[in-house]
């Protein structure tokens, strides 16, 4: 087991820089998920760790050893590919044994390890089949087994679940989590699916356009997103981000915008933030509640019209449009007023403690301790 460390790592293809100075430490035994939209450079980072791509600039160490220029096979890592990359002409047993065989392990040890891994992954009955005779989930397990059997210093996963259907994917998520607990190995896991990231990770590293946006525990990224990108990426449905201007005295701050007025917690803003500053106000859909339209209170909240109502059983997604633009709220079905339907006027309010503020220019978080 080993730690993986990246220092100002860059990757360039000719003129194009796809990874722009990433600093990242994966602790020994940690499960780190690299997440981000497609094309953000996350797979490239993983492939550099694997040795399949050269590092253009920066330092990369595994277990304290500089691995730049070291061949993949000499890095003692294992990788599970999105397509599984099983050897199509070899049986499951041969697939599992390949890495040990080329490393000249004694036959008895190979057989022992293969059987052990097969038992753990419930592949024992499939050992003599060819990959094409397996289902997607079985192939996925073989790919995992091929990595496990080697007992490497670190496991690398490149979107390993994206070719599976939803049910199988959640089942495999649990299984991978269990494996990590049992093996206690360092794992770096690449995905574009924030649900996978949230459920699996000890820590998440969120990449966008080759730049790390935020690294932290899943709840940290969820509760205190460092910028609008993280805020929009983590959480489903995504956080609402609306334009506004800071108004009021420092003692009674609020954000005002077209069709919206959001009071803020007094004292929640840093001293240097002044009224008149343009901001983005972020509210997670489930932090919104429906205010009684007939009760005219201070007029705060978000004033708009219901466009679409998506019933999801216990909860309902409301797509509301106002002068501020579109907005999604997630409320209990029970809380809906009657009659209520498309075209109904609606006012949504939010608890001031649940409001996130970001700079309108830079997108960086204002206040909080992120």
């Amino acid at each position: 087991m080993a730690a993986v460390e990246l220092r100002q790592v860059r990757k360039r293809y000719g003129e194009v820089e796809v990874v722009r100075g990433v600093d990242l430490t994966v602790a020994d035994g940690e499960f780190l998920v690299l997440v981000g939209p497609s094309g953000c450079g996350k797979s490239t980072v993983l492939r550099m760790i694997a040795g399949l791509e050269e590092v253009s600039e920066g330092e990369l160490t595994i277990a304290g050893k500089d691995v730049r220029g070291v061949a993949p096979r000499d890095r003692d890592i294992a990788m599970v590919f999105q397509s599984y990359a099983l050897y199509p002409h070899l049986t499951v047993r041969e697939n599992l044994a390949f890495g040990l065989k080329v490393r000249k392990f004694p036959k008895t040890e190979i057989a022992g390890r293969v059987d052990e891994v097969a038992k753990v992954l419930e592949l024992s009955g499939l050992l003599d089949r060819l990959p094409k005779e397996l289902s997607g989930g079985q192939r996925q397990r073989v790919a995992m087994g091929r990595a496990m059997v080697r007992r490497p210093k670190a496991f690398l996963f490149d979107e390993p679940l994206s070719n599976l259907d939803a049910a199988l994917r959640s089942q495999m998520r649990v299984e991978i989590k269990r494996l990590h607990r049992e093996l206690g190995a360092t794992m770096v896991y690449v995905t574009h699916d924030q649900v996978e990231a949230m459920t699996l990770a000890d820590r998440i590293a969120l990449l966008h356009r080759g730049v790390l946006q935020q690294v932290g525990r899943p709840d940290e990224l969820y509760d205190r997103p460092a910028n609008t990108f993280v805020a929009g990426f983590i959480g489903s449905p995504a956080m609402n981000l609306l334009d506004g201007v800071l108004v009021g005295e420092p003692g009674a701050p609020a954000v005002r915008g077209p069709g919206l007025l959001v009071p803020l917690l007094p004292g929640s803003l840093p001293a240097e933030v002044e009224a008149g500053r343009r901001v983005k106000v972020g509210v997670r859909p489930h932090d919104l509640t429906i205010a009684d339209i007939r009760v005219a209170t201070s007029g705060d909240g978000f004033q708009g019209t219901l466009e679409v109502l998506e019933p999801l059983g216990w909860e309902v997604h409301l797509h509301v449009r106002g002068e501020f633009g579109p907005l999604v709220a997630r409320v209990e079905r029970q809380a809906l007023p009657t009659p209520f339907g498309a075209g109904s006027p609606v006012r949504l309010v939010v608890d001031p403690t649940k409001v996130h503020l970001f700079d309108a220019e830079t997108g960086a978080r204002i206040g909080g301790d992120a």
Partner: protein, 728 residues
């Protein structure tokens, strides 16, 4: 049959006699000055003879005999054609020629030079008129050697001071390994290509001594060992050889080079006191048996052989013409070259016209070359050649009763038909075909093509393998005797090159080595082209496909030239490293290697292209997974890449094997079977039986059927192999 057809054509020709202008068609293979002279004569004849026009058609020398054999019986051949007299016997036997009237023969004997008419008589009748003659003679550089040698001793004494093989200088340049030139020495030592009874063969006393004489010329470095026409020209015109033995066609080369030269008859052989007498070829105007205007054609023939035409051809075309009267012209008489060849005519031996002569060249050449190389002593070599010649010219096997065979084949076909009908009925093939009748209609043209181009020739070929060619296009049924003869290796010992099994082993070795090297080279280059650091990939890919894109006979001829002992690039390169010139075609190993190199060059691009395509189908991450799993490049190739492209390569290997197994062009054009036919493969051996060994078409067809059987078995085996592979 053919004679009747010819007669009918003749009669109909007479009946249709000269109403309108008749066009007479004349085929020839002349080019350059000779063709121009002929054209001038033809135009003049048309003017002089009202109602007649002459159309000349220049036919390539390589194909004229075949075109004549095909065209004349079908009635679209020429009325008159000009070609060397050697073919006369075969053509009379196949009925291509009309005999000439007795008065024409008498006239020819009076007007033509002595020795030019007799060779055209076959079984007592004259079958053409001589128009010119050709033989070898001695060319001498008069600056280097002013006086013509009268004897071989004088010739060799004059030649010796000029010989320095290491410096590329030789005393005498001629194509020493060619029987045509050796003939002069054969006759000079009292031998020849006829035995004591006058029948064709190599047993004549003196032949062995003549071979030893030629071997001595090579051993002493007086004559370059594997000289071809190009080398002889090169040596003599660059004054690196004071003497050359060549024919009239060489005069133009010498004049163009501007060297001072003279031509004299070949010298007397000092050992015997007999003159060295070269083979004589009469260029003959033949009257086609298929002519529709035989009288007009005969008149044309006589004019072509007449004095006016001869003068024109001598002056314009530089031809040694046969009409006596031409030499009365002072300008003709003043030409020293014509005079010299006329003198040589008096000491030349006409080439035999019997069809069997064509089967003598190959064994005689084998004997000559093995003596020149010092592999065999002359007597043994001639004995072997004589034996080969006897086998090649043996009478065809006795006719067999086709009835039992026909009954057997009939029963077999009937059984197959019954089986097919029952299977078809069960699967309702008829009904289904009817339902899709329009679709089948669209398939008819392709189906007809396959039937005519594949099925019919195949069936005919298979049928011919059961027959023996009796000469003149007549076949007799012999059952499986051809196969028995081939497979029992009845005529040849197992280790003789003509034995089926010897050739089979060579063919298998040839195929395995070629395909192995094609694969190795093709895969290696494909893998290299895939490497990310390779620049200009597209350019390389095109360059590497070029050997495949060039027609293979051109490539074969280029490689043949490169392997030439004196002129070839390969010996020149080896020479830089101090390697003595290698006679590539003197030994089996080197001749085989030369063939192999040529065919590897021709074949690797195909495997490279197939491999490149197959590599595209391998997902990149599978190879990456192997790299992470711990496999180095070598292991990755053998354990992952190769197994994954194997299923694409197997069909290519099968195809490549079949092509290589039958790669006639390379064998025929590069080594030509040298030495002694040992580098022949089955297909080129079949060709020899058909075309240079007495037209044993049935025997050759049996070879072809055996080749088909071997390749079919190989294909079925490989299918089974890939099937088990796929079902794994």
């Amino acid at each position: 049959m053919r004679r009747v057809a010819a007669l009918a054509a003749l009669l109909s020709g007479l009946a249709a006699a000269p109403a309108a202008a008749e066009e007479l068609v004349l085929w020839h293979a002349y080019h350059g000055d000779e063709a121009a002279a002929l054209a001038e004569w033809a135009a003049g004849y048309g003017r002089r003879t009202p109602g007649i026009s002459v159309r000349l058609l220049e036919v390539p020398a390589e194909s004229i005999t075949q075109k004549l054999t095909n065209a004349i019986p079908r009635g679209h051949g020429p009325d008159v054609f000009v070609w060397a007299h050697e073919q006369l016997g075969a053509w009379v036997e196949t009925g291509l020629l009309a005999p000439l009237p007795a008065e024409v023969e008498r006239e020819a004997e009076e007007t033509q030079l002595a020795g030019t008419v007799d060779p055209l008589v076959y079984h007592g009748r004259l079958y053409g008129l001589p128009i010119a003659f050709k033989s070898a003679a001695l060319f001498r550089n008069t600056r280097l050697v002013p006086e013509a040698p009268a004897t071989t001793d004088e010739l060799l004494a004059a030649a010796r001071p000029f010989s320095d093989p290491d410096a590329g200088r030789f005393g005498l340049a001629y194509e020493v390994g060619t029987v045509y030139y050796q003939a002069a020495w054969l006759h000079g030592f009292g031998g020849g290509v006829r035995g004591p009874q006058g029948d064709l063969g190599l047993t004549a006393p003196g032949n062995a001594r003549s071979l030893e004489f030629a071997a001595r010329l090579v051993a002493e470095g007086l004559v370059p060992a594997d000289a071809n026409g190009a080398l002889v020209t090169e040596l003599f015109t660059s004054e690196r050889a004071p003497f050359a033995i060549q024919g009239p066609w060489f005069v133009a080369d010498c004049r163009r080079a501007g060297i001072p030269f003279a031509i004299s008859p070949l010298p007397e052989v000092s050992e015997t006191g007999l003159p060295a007498r070269p083979f004589l070829t009469i260029e003959t105007a033949f009257l086609s048996a298929g002519s529709r205007h035989p009288e007009a054609a005969l008149a044309l023939l006589r004019d072509l052989a007449g004095p006016e035409s001869a003068r024109l051809r001598a002056l314009r075309g530089g031809q040694p013409v046969s009409a006596r009267a031409a030499y009365d012209d002072p300008r003709v008489a003043a030409d020293p070259a014509l005079a010299a060849f006329r003198e040589q005519l008096g000491r030349a031996v006409p080439m035999p016209t019997e069809p069997a002569m064509r089967a003598l060249w190959e064994p005689a050449a084998f004997a000559l070359r093995s003596v020149l190389r010092g592999d065999l002593d002359a007597a043994t070599a001639l004995d072997q050649a004589e034996r080969r010649f006897r086998i090649f010219t043996r009478p065809p096997p006795a006719a067999a009763d086709p009835l039992p065979f026909a009954v057997g084949v009939g029963l077999l076909l009937f059984g197959a038909a019954v089986f097919a009908v029952r299977r078809g009925r069960r699967a309702q093939v008829g009904a289904r075909m009817w339902r899709h009748r329009r679709d089948y209609l669209y398939l008819v043209p392709a189906g007809l093509g396959v039937l005519l181009l594949l099925v019919v020739p195949f069936v005919v070929g298979a049928a011919v393998s059961l027959a023996a060619h009796q000469g003149g296009g007549e076949f007799s049924f012999v059952g499986l005797r051809n196969f028995v003869q081939i497979l029992s290796s009845a005529d040849f010992g197992l280790t003789e090159p003509e034995s089926f099994y010897f050739t089979l082993v060579v063919t298998l070795l040839w195929t395995v080595l070629n395909v192995g090297l094609h694969l190795a080279l093709g895969i290696a280059l494909a893998l290299l082209l895939r490497e990310p650091w390779v620049r200009l990939r597209g350019v390389w890919r095109v360059l590497l496909i070029i050997p495949w894109a060039v027609p293979n006979y051109i490539t074969a001829l280029i490689w043949k030239g490169m392997f030439h002992r004196q002129l070839g690039a390969i010996n020149a390169i080896l020479g830089w490293f101090g390697v003595e010139p290698v006679g590539w075609f003197d030994r089996f190993s080197t001749a085989f290697a030369a063939n192999l190199a040529t065919n590897v060059w021709l074949g690797f691009p195909f495997m490279m292209v197939v491999t490149l395509g197959a590599l595209q189908t391998i997902p990149k991450d599978v190879e990456e997974a192997a790299a992470i799993d711990g496999a180095g490049a070598w292991t990755r190739f053998w354990r992952i890449t190769l197994p994954m492209i194997r299923s694409s390569l197997v069909p290519a290997v099968v195809l490549g094997s079949v092509w290589t197994f039958n790669m006639f062009n390379v064998i025929y054009l590069v080594s030509g079977g040298d030495p002694e036919g040992r580098t022949e493969i089955l297909i080129s051996q079949a060709y020899r039986w058909a075309f240079s060994r007495q037209e044993q078409y049935g025997y050759a067809a049996a070879y072809a059927v055996l080749i088909f059987g071997i390749l079919l078995a190989f294909d079925l085996l490989s299918r089974r192999w890939t099937r088990t592979e796929a079902s794994r």
